[in-house]
Symmetry: C2
Subunit: 348 residues, 2 copies
């Protein structure tokens, strides 16, 4: 599992995914009414705010890559599932646009978030439009799996909404009022659900039955939780030049990410220090640079970083178990395993 | 066309629609995750803000009534289209939830809007969830028309978003910078599109071909524009005890509704007075009660009220023309005609 070729393979899969899904995505986005098209093209990194073409930084394509890898793992024809892969990516980006509005996040993929450029209303509308576009792609898809895929994607959106709601609610509570269990449940709904759905859609497009589809969903969910854990680690200790986010922005905003909550609930001396840094009365200001660094050390000292990495590895092994049941041939499962491996080993 | 029995017939159709669509709607909403369910039940008027049961004021059900009336007009089985009718109503309410957030509207159906009670984030999430729920209903519907209906509904959402964007943009321009033509285009996208889509879905569920489906869409669009014109008239001169909105709230907020823009562009002396009342420099405050009354008189004096009523009648006759082409039998078309008649004759 430490073979560096795994990461190369994942990078290749994601590049190949971009190459076949991006044209479908762009074609779909070009059909949007003007205002939504402009916001979407900016959000995907294909245009600057003034509408001039941009090089593109449209994320890692992990979700569409999972759709296609799941199709391949089950012996299906990936060409038929490109539209479904694009629908999953549109859905993901609809939630990003709305989450950024709700969370007042100002930076994504190295650039100002859409609402900071176009205002709340246009960012909300662009998100609404991307959700509709995703469903339109599936509704117009003649593949026999399309209706089941559409129903599953819609159900997944409900889970994503529940996850975002729980996440917002957690942020409004004090640092001593959250448990690790509820943070994990929230992360599963917010991140695991869509990675699971991506794999399940791939299974449906490969003609899989209920049991295999659910196993693929379980694989994606567990890998998704590993993904979120590593994302949180990178959010604290990652290199901002590579992550596209401000260093320690999650800490400065006192976000209750998984490593932080693990640290807070560790019962250590560092946990008490962290609770002091995270606790506030009256108007909460952003932390200073020095406070952010002290906080990062406290999270690490309280074991939050180690816990997140160990727990990510645990989730990965659960993911591998789910997958082994449905796809016993390691060769066939290779693409999915490489992608899952990637999400727990990446550094940005 | 002045026969008051038309209004009775429309009221009966809408009551019958509520009786068969409401259970489907509630069943769908009950499947939502807790937080979204709570906001949706409040928004539909089935619960108070504290979660206790409420009598319900879930709007006029004009859109689901159009779905079912279109099915009946074309000889289809309305029982099979209840789910589609519920999907249209969910879609409508998703846009209301989001529009209220964007427009900062504080009152709807006699009650505080959802965002004022639950906050922006939960109102946005509830809207997202209702859009997903609408699509899930259609994706899970075994009726052969369901995929085409889902695609059409998703395309309609894109038009609704474009209409809302144009509406927001109009509100940010000065009173001398908007034309009546662009306001009508906006109203068609914002209101006409979904009424047209409702009728088109009914046609699809009755097994109609492309031409009849488009004629039904055209009927709904024209009736929808008439609906919006009358809605704007009621928004200025309606009885707040019946409309559920503050008297003259649209004027107080200097909204560029259709009668106002018709008045502004009339070239009359009253138009100049109105432009002065609507124009502002620096920070725009809400109008006083006396200013609202003066503004309403100026809109009326400049012919805005008469224009809106005449133009609504013109749209209604276009609607009737569209319908006559597709459904020549007046008996069969009766329900649709009664509903269209209702929207141009109602007073609240």
């Amino acid at each position: 599992m430490t073979d560096p070729t795994d990461l190369t393979q994942a990078a290749e899969i994601m590049a190949a995914t971009r190459a076949c899904v991006d044209p479908e995505l762009r074609r779909a986005i070009e059909t949007l009414p003007g205002s939504m098209r402009r916001v979407a093209l900016y959000h995907f990194g294909w245009e600057h705010a003034d509408g001039t073409p941009a090089a593109g930084h449209a994320g890692k394509a992990i979700r569409p890559a999972l759709v296609l890898a799941a199709v391949r793992a089950l012996g299906g024809d990936t060409a038929c599932a490109v539209r479904a892969a694009a629908a999953v990516e549109l859905t993901h980006n609809f939630t990003l646009l709305h989450d950024d509005v709700m969370d007042r996040d100002t930076t994504r993929r190295h650039r100002p978030t859409a609402w900071t450029v176009f205002g709340d209303a246009d960012a909300i509308l662009a998100g609404d439009a991307l959700q509709a576009l995703a469903q339109r792609l599936l509704a117009e898809d003649p593949h026999p799996a399309a209706p089941a895929a559409a129903a599953r994607l819609a159900a997944c959106v409900l889970e994503l909404c529940a996850g975002q709601h729980a996440d917002c609610a957690l942020e409004h509570r004090g640092p001593d009022e959250v448990t690790l269990a509820e943070c994990l449940t929230t992360a599963e709904a917010k991140t695991g659900a869509l990675l699971g759905c991506a794999c399940a859609l791939g299974a449906l497009y490969a003609g899989a039955g209920r049991e295999v589809t659910e196993a693929l969903d379980g694989f994606g969910r567990q890998a998704g939780l590993a993904f979120q854990l590593i994302d949180d680690v990178i959010g604290i200790w990652g290199d901002p030049r590579r992550t596209g986010k401000t260093a320690g922005a999650d800490l400065a905003a006192r976000k209750k990410s998984l490593p932080v909550v693990a640290a807070l609930t560790s019962g250590t001396a560092a946990a008490a220090e962290l609770a002091r840094l995270y606790g506030y009365s009256g108007t909460p200001g952003e932390m200073t640079r020095a406070e952010v660094e002290r906080t990062a050390r406290a999270v690490e000292g309280a074991g939050g970083r180690d816990w997140a990495q160990l727990h990510a590895a645990d989730r990965m092994s659960r993911a591998v178990c789910e997958l082994a049941g449905a796809v016993p041939d390691p060769e066939a499962a290779g693409g999915l395993l490489a992608l899952a491996e990637f999400v727990t080993r990446r550094t940005h």
